[in-house]
Symmetry: C2
Subunit: 249 residues, 2 copies
DNA sequence: CGTAAAATTGATCTGTCTCAACGTGGGTGG
DNA sequence: CCACCCACGTTGAGACAGATCAATTTTACG
């Protein structure tokens, strides 16, 4: 199987089993692979989505800017994540998508998407994946609304770790997370200064260390407890085994 | 046309024109009308959605509770709003939906939904409606993340007014809004006490008055400016005329 | 190496929370 | 029909998490 769609296929298989045909279809229709540099926009507010985006490497994020220049990240797109194909219906996006660090993405053209959506299993997998992303969005609202800065960051780390683990990118409680402290600040709606102080405290308490774009979780159980993190909303029931299986690549 | 599906039909027609057949189909399949009292759950976290919900009267809200009992509203469901049919795919909801005051809703059974989704125009209308709800969710994240208490409440009022106006329920800058100050607090993630103070100030400044479950907008332009409100994300371009047209009911 | 982005630290300030009353209206039972 | 009650709204005083402002240090990289 071509390396390009490996993570995507495996991510989608979390949501619905795919036939060999469907896997092949994914591969064949993934004709356009694009690379982006940090801060490049993969999609721009006001324009339509350029096609169905699937991230194959790196982190991207939906975001909005306020008139005063502040930025709020609205969602993270990690390797294996696909945008909701329904977004293609919209003639203009209400937000933008940026690369946070170097990103590689497959862009399925619209007619390829139509082919994909004709396959019931693929359509179901895409829909379920979108449902999970909505659930994540609800957690973010909860975080920003009611959690302390400590809990917000800690919950975000749990989420990122779980999502990366689900695609085999978090072997042994550690993962590469190419986020800047400012990115984290814009995600959880806290000042960069305060993010820094909170990260220092997390290090001191030996829960997690986030340094040099690397996240190391020292005590997952305690971290999840501190965050009030319940992974069920991510719908990756067989997290552990799946991750084991995926690690072969 | 039966009164039940009037608002629903007209709301959906904002997103895609429906044929007489499709309108008829909506009516015929809307077999079960249910009434709820304040605080009743229309759907419960952990359970599947009981069918496709469409609100025909009153306000409902998606919400989540935190372990310490605090509540965060995640979305408002106003008359004419339909849940995303995709949610039926999920075996268990990650949040609940409650009635805020008396509510009347149509519950389309699953097989009716399948019929509806076979009609391309209906499927498109439902998808577009869901896209708008997602855009609203992003605005909420922005509000809770970066807007002051004043802007949050003011932006919420702009949103509610625009959405009600779109279904003909806000004639002359005023509308019934059966929310409690606590409901508003749980929506914009502010303390009820502080919501109260902010409402008092809004009255003093003669921008809006919210009292006795009635919202009266004294100066829409200034209110929108104060809120940083840009209605385009609601995708009701012909807001004014449409509202005029709908008012016939 | 030089330069810019990212991280770190300190001192101070403030919007909102917390706690604690008190007012008020509408519904209910005696 | 009155008296009580409970949810909701209103007001005040003080506390605090996190913001803001202002450097300084470290890191990444051309």
């Amino acid at each position: 199987m071509s390396g390009i769609t490996v993570r995507l296929t495996r991510r989608l298989e979390h949501f619905a089993p795919l036939s060999p045909q469907e896997r092949a279809l994914l591969q064949e229709t993934a004709t356009s692979v694009r690379r982006f540099e940090s801060r490049d926009d993969l999609a721009k507010q006001g324009a339509p989505l350029p096609g169905l985006l699937a991230i194959t490497y790196g982190f991207a994020a939906r975001y909005k800017l306020l008139p005063d220049g502040r930025r709020q990240l609205l969602a993270l797109l990690l390797p294996g994540d696909v945008c909701d194909p329904r977004a293609l219906l919209s003639p203009q996006m209400d937000h933008s998508i940026a690369a946070l660090g170097p990103v590689e993405a497959v862009v399925f053209p619209e007619d390829a998407v139509r082919q994909l959506e004709e396959r019931p299993a693929l359509a179901r997998a895409l829909a379920r994946s979108a449902l999970v992303h909505e659930a994540i969005g609800r957690q973010w609202l909860l975080s920003v609304g009611h959690r302390s800065s400590f809990e917000r960051i800690t919950h975000l780390f749990c989420e990122i770790h779980a999502r990366l683990d689900a695609v085999g990118l978090a072997p042994g409680r550690a993962c590469d997370v190419p986020l800047t402290q400012v990115d984290i600040a814009d995600t959880v709606a806290i000042t960069p200064v305060h993010v820094n102080r909170t990260l220092m405290e997390l290090r001191r308490t030996r829960l997690v260390t986030f340094q040099n774009k690397r996240l190391v979780i020292h005590d997952l159980r305690s971290l999840q407890r501190a965050a009030g993190f319940d992974p069920s909303y991510l719908c990756v029931p067989a997290l552990a085994e799946t991750a084991e299986f995926l690690r072969e690549k």
